[in-house]
Every structure is written in C-alpha cells, then in structure tokens.
C-alpha cells in the first residue's frame, strides 16, 4: 500500500539543507512527489510531499531518519500523514 506523508522543515538557513532532507528520503526508499522551499530573513521553510510503499519502508523508519537528519543540520522536521491536513482544512 502506498502511503503519502507531508514533511515540513523549519530552521536557520545554511548550505545543503534541501539536499540533506532529500538524501534521507531517498535512503529510506521513499519518493519526493513535490517540494517547495523559501528562505525569508535567513529562516529556511520547506514543504515536501513524500510517498512510499509500505513494503519498502515504514512511517516510523522514515520519521526517525528525518528527525535524526534534522538534529544534525539544525532543522525542526515534522513528518505527518497527509490525512491530518486534508481533514483539518476540507470536508
């Protein structure tokens, strides 16, 4: 079964942040479906739509890996199933 999650990352800007997150996603055999990022007042904000096959990785493994990356590069990274966003903002 394919699972879609939304990864958000916030923190002070530095070189290679997007690359670090994308690399971790790839290492977990997950796919980047869409991504946007902005830097405003030296603050980095990224929203990444990620999907994966549950036979290849799990949400827990992806979350742990991305949180470890976030800690290493100084970003607050959240990984949440897309349904919470759909439910909260749409009927």
């Amino acid at each position: 079964m394919r699972t879609s999650v939304i990864v958000t990352a916030l923190g002070p800007d530095s070189h290679g942040l997007l690359a670090s997150v994308a690399t971790t996603v790839a290492e977990q055999n997950a796919n980047v479906d869409d991504v946007s990022q902005t830097v405003s007042n030296r603050m980095f904000t990224m929203i990444m739509f990620v999907s994966f096959d549950e036979t290849e990785t799990t949400m827990a493994a992806l979350k742990d890996a991305l949180e470890a990356t976030g800690e290493r590069v100084g970003l607050q990274i959240n990984v949440q199933h897309e349904n919470i966003f759909k439910f909260m903002h749409r009927i």
Partner: protein
C-alpha cells in the same frame, strides 16, 4: 488528490508545535452490564477481565495515531457503566473492593483514569446507590486512577437535596483522607445535574445505559490555537471575531473527528462522540482566561466576562458542529480554576470570585470546576454551593457540574498544588451567611416547568 495549500500545511504544523493543539482524551466506553452480580469478588474479577480485554490496546493505538499524524493525544481513559448498576449490593465494602479492581485494571493497561464509579440519584436512592455513595471516600482515597461522579439533579426530576447534602459530606471526608496530597481526591469527584452519558472528560466520564457495548469518544482541545487567532486580530469586530473562532474550532474539531474514526476502527469499537470542549491546561498560552483577555478584557472576572464567554462558547459549538456529525459529551468551554493558570491568578488577585464563576457557568460548561474552598467550610455551605450550580443546570436544561475541593487545614489566600494537569489554585472565599434551615428541610426541589416539554 485533495489540494492543500502551503499556508494550510504550515498553519497545522504551527498549531501543534507552537499553540499546544492536542487531542485531550481518547476515552473508551465499556458496558459492564454483563459483569453484574451480587458477589463483589466475582463482579470485580469480571470487570477487571473485560476492561483489560477490550481496552488492552487503547494506549498502543492512541500512540500509533499520535505518531502517524504528529498530533499529541494527552490522555487515554476508560469510562464504565455506572458501578451502582453493576454491583447489586447494599454493602459499601463491596463497592470499595470493585473500585480496587478497576484501579488495578487501569494500571495494567496503562491508562490515566477510569471513570464510572457513579450513580444517578436525581429522583432518589436505590440501596445500591446509597452504598456506593457511602463507599466513595474510601474508594477514591484508596485508589489512584478511579474517578467518581454522582448525578443529583436533572431538568426532568428536579434536585435531590438529600443527595446534595450527602455529597458535601463525601467531599469533606475525601478532603480529610487525602489532606497529605493537598486533597487531590476531591479532584476526582464530580456532582452533576443532567449528566451526559457519553462524556469523555474526567472526572465525570461514564458509559450510560443508552450507549453501545463499546465506543470510542474523543475530547478535543486547543485553547492556545483559539487564543492566538483572537490575539492576532485586535481590530476585528465581534461578528468578525465570532467567525474567526468558528473557523478555528472547525479545524480543531476535524482533528478530533479523524482521531475518533481511526481509533474506533482500530479498536473494533463503535465511534461515539466528539466533545467540542475547549479544555485548558496549566501551561502558559493554553488558557480559556487568556482567550477572554485576548478578546479585550483586562483580566478574566472583569465586567463583561460572562458576555465574552457566552460568545466564545457559542462560536465553538457552531464551528464544531460543522466539522462533525457526532457531537456529544459536555461540549462547551471549560472554566476550571486550578487547571487554567490565568484563571487561578485572577482568583488570587481578587478579580474572579465564586459568584462570578457561578454566573459564567450559566453560559458554558462545566460548572464550578476545580475550585478550592476553605477546609473548614460548613457542610451546609458546601452543599449550598453545589445546589446553586445544580439549579443553573436544571432551569437552563443544560449540564452543570461541581468539582469542589475543600482544602483541609487551609484558608482563603492559601494555595493548593494538585500537580500535573490539575494545576494549582488559591483557596477562594465562600459567603459565611448561614443556610442551615434551607439545607436541612430535606427532600427534593421539584422539577421545573421546563421539564414539561411533551
């Protein structure tokens, strides 16, 4: 695919990360009717086994949902058939024995509280009701996780004043027994008018007679989210403010709906209700008082507080009912003094009195909640305070509750620290005018005209 904007995604993340948005409780209601009997030992064993069997996965499922959606689920609880309906004994010791079994089951499955050590006596006592009420002091002071509630009044039946007086005695006894822990036992006892039978919030949760075998009820929260939305619009008119609160509550409630659907499906239980209540915690920013202050009051308790609270409560319901078709429970803004740091401060500053809180309870839930009164308060004065709250519920056809804490050995101005989500609060003054003759008349205040709706 549903299109979600960047703004919406970041708003959701910010609500959870910065504004204390959480699901306050996932409460599994379990019917114990098939555990009923006269022998307390076998009732206790059957109840323990059923709780463990049906709710054994509750904490694990809640943790899984929390992980999946990144939304904290603060409390996991179980509510039960009122125990007076389950134990057919007139011996208080039988109820104490069952309370210990419920406590042990709650500890075994890792939940915070188990509710339903309860009875409904608005019209009178059965022998079982009477024995359960007598057992409350020993049962509550001797257990950690058991919560008790007694419904003493309703719009259809009136107010059982004998029960009101007995509950005042119960509270004073529990206060004495748990004095070493700042009388925390009283925080686990609620006296109700028009008790809802599907309420997921403690201490008043029970699984009523009209409920299914097993259900999952969810209590939403999010005062911090509403407070920030209001604070960010200082120029908004009242109509605009009401719209803003409705939109915000809609979003909060949708999260509750998602969690309720998923939890009930995973636990093999019927989806129960979403309780549209704003429940504060002692954390800074997670406060109903701060919402009211953001609306423009200098401090909660100022003239206009009841009006502001009425508007807030109404907007919360309007936004919430758009988000779910399964509303229930208490569904209203809570005003528990000890659990809301800004509310406790207003009480300590002398801006917020019990009389003002009584007016506020007429326009929201839950009633006089988590209010600390002097330990030497006369029994009839305490009963009078309870009766006043019950009268507001009875006449207005709404739920009201009293969760009062007589602080043993303490007097007005002293502080009581209950810890955790229970918070801390100053001892508040109660009028010293006597009411003994009225309280000792006994019997029932008749059902009001509002009861004749057929």
């Amino acid at each position: 695919m549903v299109f979600i904007t960047e703004h919406e995604i970041l708003e959701t993340v910010s609500m959870i990360r910065s504004e204390n948005l959480d699901v306050r409780a996932v409460t599994m209601g379990i019917s114990l009717t098939d555990c009923a009997g006269r022998d307390p030992r076998s009732v206790a064993a059957r109840a323990h086994a059923k709780i463990v069997q049906r709710a054994g996965r509750l904490v694990g499922v809640a943790d899984e949902i929390e992980h999946k959606y990144g939304i904290p689920i603060v409390n996991k609880r179980v509510s039960l058939t009122p125990i007076a309906h389950v134990v057919g004994s007139d011996d208080p010791a039988a109820y104490v024995e069952v309370a210990h079994a419920l406590d042990a089951a709650a500890e075994q499955i890792g939940i915070d509280f188990v509710g339903g050590f309860s009875c409904l006596v608005q019209k009178g006592f059965t022998r079982a009701d009477s024995a359960l009420i007598e057992a409350i002091p020993e049962a509550i002071s001797g257990t950690q996780r058991v919560c008790s509630s007694v419904n003493v009044a309703s719009t259809r039946a009136g107010i059982n004043m004998d029960a009101v007086v007995r509950m005042a005695d119960v509270l004073k006894s529990v206060s004495r027994r748990t004095a070493a822990e700042d009388c925390i036992g009283c925080a686990k006892i609620v006296v109700f008018c028009n008790v809802p039978e599907d309420n997921p919030f403690m201490a008043g949760a029970m699984h009523g007679s009209g409920e299914p075998e097993v259900s999952v009820n969810v209590a939403i929260s999010g005062p911090g989210v509403v407070r920030n939305a209001v604070a960010n619009h200082p120029e908004a008119s009242l109509i605009e403010l009401a719209d803003l609160i409705k939109r915000t509550t809609f979003k909060i409630t949708r999260v509750g709906e998602l969690v309720a659907r998923e939890a009930s499906q995973m636990l093999g239980a019927q989806m129960g209700i979403i309780d549209l209540s704003l429940a504060p915690t002692p954390a800074v920013g997670d406060s109903i008082a701060e919402i009211l202050e953001s609306m423009g009051l200098g401090q909660v308790g100022a003239p206009g507080t009841t009006a502001a609270l009425a508007m807030l409560n109404d907007a919360v319901k309007k936004g919430g009912t758009m988000a779910t078709s399964s509303t229930g429970g208490l569904s209203g803004a809570f005003i528990p003094v000890s659990e809301d740091a800004a509310m406790a401060k207003a009480a300590a500053d002398g801006v917020l009195s019990i009389e003002k809180l009584e007016a506020m309870t007429a326009v929201c839930s839950l009633g006089l909640d988590m209010i600390v009164v002097p330990g030497d308060i006369p029994r009839n004065a305490l009963a009078g305070v309870i009766a006043d709250v019950m009268a507001i519920g009875m006449i207005n056809s709404k739920t009201t509750g009293a969760r009062l804490i007589p602080a043993y050995g303490k007097t007005v101005g002293d502080w009581v620290t209950l810890g955790g989500l229970f918070g801390e609060a100053p001892v508040m003054a109660v009028s010293s005018a006597v009411n003994d003759v009225f309280m000792q008349r006994g019997g029932r205040i008749p059902a009001p005209l509002q009861s004749l709706t057929n």
